[in-house]
Point group: C2
Chain length 432, copies 2
């Protein structure tokens, strides 16, 4: 078979057009990036059939990326709603999107998303398997491979498979407070328990690698055992699976397939650095793609914030991509407003980590905005803000509330309504 | 003079009723807490005239506390609005409040706040000095001492004074991108520059200590030189002032006055731990009360999140209290909704750090909520949430959106609308 994946071509010494493009974006030496792609420390998810894709890279040495999940559930949502969420995710700055649809019309929703998306599109194929198989009874290796092949043909750039959750690990999950909170993980564990069989994604991993190698689908090795609460963090079940994911990373690379590894979850602050280092060791520095981690369980309604704290720390300690978490996490399916809140919180976390790590150019935007702040150039501050519309809204709100008390026009003022003109420190200290 | 302050009495070996109360709250040995108060590692801001006060303690060994700022500016707000903000701050969980009023009616607003507040009330006396002196021209040592005396008599529990910003440090501030962003600091720097004199709070520090000792006012030694952007972080101006604050901590303790130290500001993630350790060394472990720190400058409209990331790290590395930052930071005066968002974000940060540090009992709430989550006990989850109302609102919203698509009642359901019943991992893995 002709070797067409980014990793194979990089291993053969080629600086692909995608590598060249990403190197430019990341202000990186192309040859250095090629070596990182060849080694598997950076992935460039780029299905050969995804026409509209603008290549991007994921790896610890690059700018921290963020993913936004979209997709319907069996209870709600329709294709146009999903395209609206895609637009929203892109508008607010998602670097990749995952279509997690589990409801009706999966194939058409995905087609529309891939057609419209300039960023890599990821999926979790077992959702479609179940939707098509009408329940876990029909979950067969043949159907899994067929669905993955069809999705690969359709142009999916990366696929999450929970291939590392083995039958032998289930007793450890039973001892947990919340057992298995990954949807794919829970489905597979039930399947293995009921049939007394091994995980089909593990058993047919070679066949899966063949499909991925043909279309350059990047594998996202899912953590079916990610802890769903602080009490279950960093336990035997989690790390047993992670060790297996490390093996699968090796097998992927050997087969010329790009692979990243998914990570937790709910992790207390004191265990985040250890978790990042453990992944790096067990998985030979494969890009780590984390969901959160959420640093507390007790703030439903604000899990975009609990996860922004964890994600900033995770990225600072080496995570390559963070999955956004919206305020609706644990409560319901996010709508477009939740997508916005989730993406911006994740961007703040990713950017803060990049600044802390001194990644090339990361702090330029901060410095420019601070410059504009010192110059009372409100318009420029808004332009440079991660969410210009929100900044404008809040200033307008403050001005309106202030003008209700006195009839002054503050809009172009050399101060904000927080301190007013007489107590504006920046104004005063300019005169020093 | 009779020694009536918590630190003096603790130094004399007394376990005051306040120390006993706080020890119980913090699950700490009273004698151990007495020793910490005597050494100045813990402060219990408790003006002898603040009748309604329920004592609380601030120190690295205790639960991380959070302060919410209220108060009007010269441009907006009125007393009833401020009492509304007080109610809001208390309702959402502020451990102390600061009345930062700079506008009209300062004395009456403060009286109302102290009368209604069971938590310590802090002020920044220079704001009233300026409001009464009609501009910086009238800023005299006599007026400063008079205002501080009157505020102490009124029952203010702690006062921020920028006594460590010395004249010799101003050239270093001039070299900064944003110079001085503390209001009090900027006013004092201008005063010193114009008059060629030293900082009156520094010069009259002994007289200030006398006032504080008489009423047990805790000093909050303000950081007039806190960096206002990442570019100015951890610089010469900041640390020169911090060293002076360390001297003032020693002088306060020697005079039987409780003292804490205020900290930054805007600090990149990689410098937060170092900042916390530097304060501990320079200020002999005086409780560190930090504003943020904000870990990026470029998210106006979301600075409750940029500061939650920094505050979680700061508290994890030893800050004792964090000042909330609202979404309106840098944009305008916060309203009640902003106070709510700011307090909850700060509580998340404080709690995450306490959990990470394994403080006594910190994780119990997380574990209980996770238990309820596993049992699909929605009502119990809401009760345990840091903001029950928000969690309820968001779930109701998700259910309403879902019911628009199909006419099922999901309210008591054993799943959320995020995954729906067939894909609910917790439901599936319960059956394992």
């Amino acid at each position: 078979m002709q070797k067409i994946t980014q990793i194979s071509r990089a291993q053969a010494g080629e600086i692909t057009p995608q590598i060249a493009h990403v190197a430019k974006l990341e202000r990186m030496n192309p040859e250095e990036l090629r070596a990182a792609v060849a080694a598997g420390r950076v992935v460039i998810p780029a299905n050969i059939g995804h026409r509209k894709l603008v290549p991007m890279g994921i790896g610890r040495a690059l700018r921290t990326k963020l993913n936004a999940n979209i997709g319907n559930s069996t209870l709600s949502s329709c294709p146009s709603q999903e395209l609206e969420k895609l637009e929203s995710a892109l508008h607010w700055g998602a670097d990749t999107v995952m279509d997690l649809s589990t409801g009706a019309n999966i194939v058409n929703i995905r087609r529309a998303i891939i057609e419209h998306s300039p960023v890599p599109v990821g999926t979790v194929p077992i959702y479609e398997v179940l939707a098509r198989g009408e329940g876990a009874e029909k979950l067969t290796p043949e159907l899994i491979l067929q669905v993955m092949r069809e999705q690969a043909e359709q142009g999916v750039d990366y696929m999450t498979i929970h291939a590392g959750l083995l039958r032998a690990m289930i007793p450890a999950a039973r001892r947990r407070k919340l057992r298995i909170v990954s949807r794919g993980g829970a489905i597979l564990a039930r399947y293995m328990s009921e049939r007394n069989c091994e995980n089909p994604f593990y058993e047919y991993f070679d066949e899966i690698l063949e499909i991925c190698a043909r279309y350059d689908v990047t594998l996202s090795l899912g953590d079916g055992m990610r802890p769903g609460c602080l009490a279950d963090a960093s336990d035997e079940a989690q790390f047993a699976e992670l060790a297996t994911l490390g093996e699968l990373v090796s097998r992927s690379r050997a087969a010329g397939v790009q692979a990243m590894v998914e990570g937790p979850g709910h992790i207390p602050m004191n265990e985040i650095e250890m978790n990042m280092k453990t992944e790096r060791e067990l998985c030979d520095d494969a890009p780590f793609y984390v969901l959160g981690p959420l640093v507390t369980d007790c703030a439903p309604g604000y899990d975009h914030i609990t996860s922004a704290i964890g994600a900033a720390l995770a990225a600072y300690y080496g995570a390559a991509m963070i999955c956004y978490v919206t305020p609706k996490e644990h409560l319901g399916l996010p709508n477009a407003a939740d997508v916005r809140a989730g993406v911006i919180a994740a961007r703040i976390a990713a950017h803060a980590a990049d600044v802390g790590l001194g990644k090339p150019g990361a702090r330029e935007r901060d410095d420019e905005l601070s410059e504009a702040r010192g110059a009372f150039d409100w318009e420029r501050q808004f332009e440079l803000a991660l969410d210009p519309e929100r900044a404008r809204e809040l200033r307008a709100e403050a001005i309106a509330e202030s003008e209700r008390n006195n009839a002054v026009d503050h809009r172009k003022s050399q101060y904000c309504t927080m301190c007013g003109p007489d107590f504006c420190s920046m104004r005063i200290s300019k005169e020093l």
